[in-house]
Symmetry: C2
Subunit: 119 residues, 2 copies
DNA sequence: GCTTGACCTGGAGTCAACTCCATGTTTTAT
DNA sequence: ATAAAACATGGAGTTGACTCCAGGTCAAGC
């Protein structure tokens, strides 16, 4: 059981962002204390972390919502399955691009090191 | 030698976006014809593609600019080297997160398949 | 010589995703 | 019982990254 502040610390999302995500329908019904304060439980924290992951995969909040909704549905329509396959390809593709960036960084670092050694 | 339209097709960036990147200082001086039209050469195209890669790594345009500027400098200050190491960790971390998303997708797809087979 | 098409510029407009603010309630410490 | 802390709400404001638009230039074809 966590307060919103604790949830914020755990997820590294701001308190406002968490409330914003709730408003946007990305979270399930968050429990409240009698005084209206939100109470976050472990699965809520994990969900927030998954949202962060998906955002890093360049999904919009709407897309994140869609996938999380699908995750709840036990039977997926063929379109959903197709959509997920498609998205999987997109993510793979993006990982390849990230690898390009890593290579670029390594190359530059190697150059830097080389120059340093030479000097 | 490419027109802006060809560059747009090659990079899948809109013409406006390419001009925007130029204004933002992410491109080197682009050659012009006497009639002021831009002429893109191969390295320009590659640079645009690298920008796309870096953006997918969740770098802001300012950060992209910074790294591209560093790439030009032959000797990097220790802070730059440190910054790049740091960023490398960030990118790696992000790849791990993407992997999480991939796993999530695979899991959901597996479930869907399973349910379908059962039905 | 006039229209068409591809390009130019400067600047305004749009959109997603926050982020901030004013105001209000409830519990806790003095 | 007054003050301070931690939360709440609704809505306005901000930011980054485009995207669109009005008005203009230039070269080519009819």
């Amino acid at each position: 059981m966590y307060t919103i502040k604790q949830a914020s610390t755990l997820t590294k999302l701001s308190i406002d962002t968490i409330r914003y995500y709730e408003k946007a329908g990305l979270l399930p019904k968050i429990k409240r204390l009698p005084n209206k304060h939100r109470v976050f439980i472990q699965p809520d924290i994990e969900r927030l972390q998954m949202i962060t992951c998906m955002k890093k995969a360049n999904l919009s909040l709407d897309e994140v919502k869609l996938y999380l909704d699908i995750a709840k549905t036990s039977n997926m329509s063929p379109e959903m399955v197709a959509g997920m396959h498609q998205h999987k390809e997109k993510v793979k593709n993006q990982m390849a691009q990230l690898q390009t960036v890593l290579d670029f960084i390594d190359e530059k670092l190697a150059e830097g090191t080389w120059l340093k050694r030479k000097a």
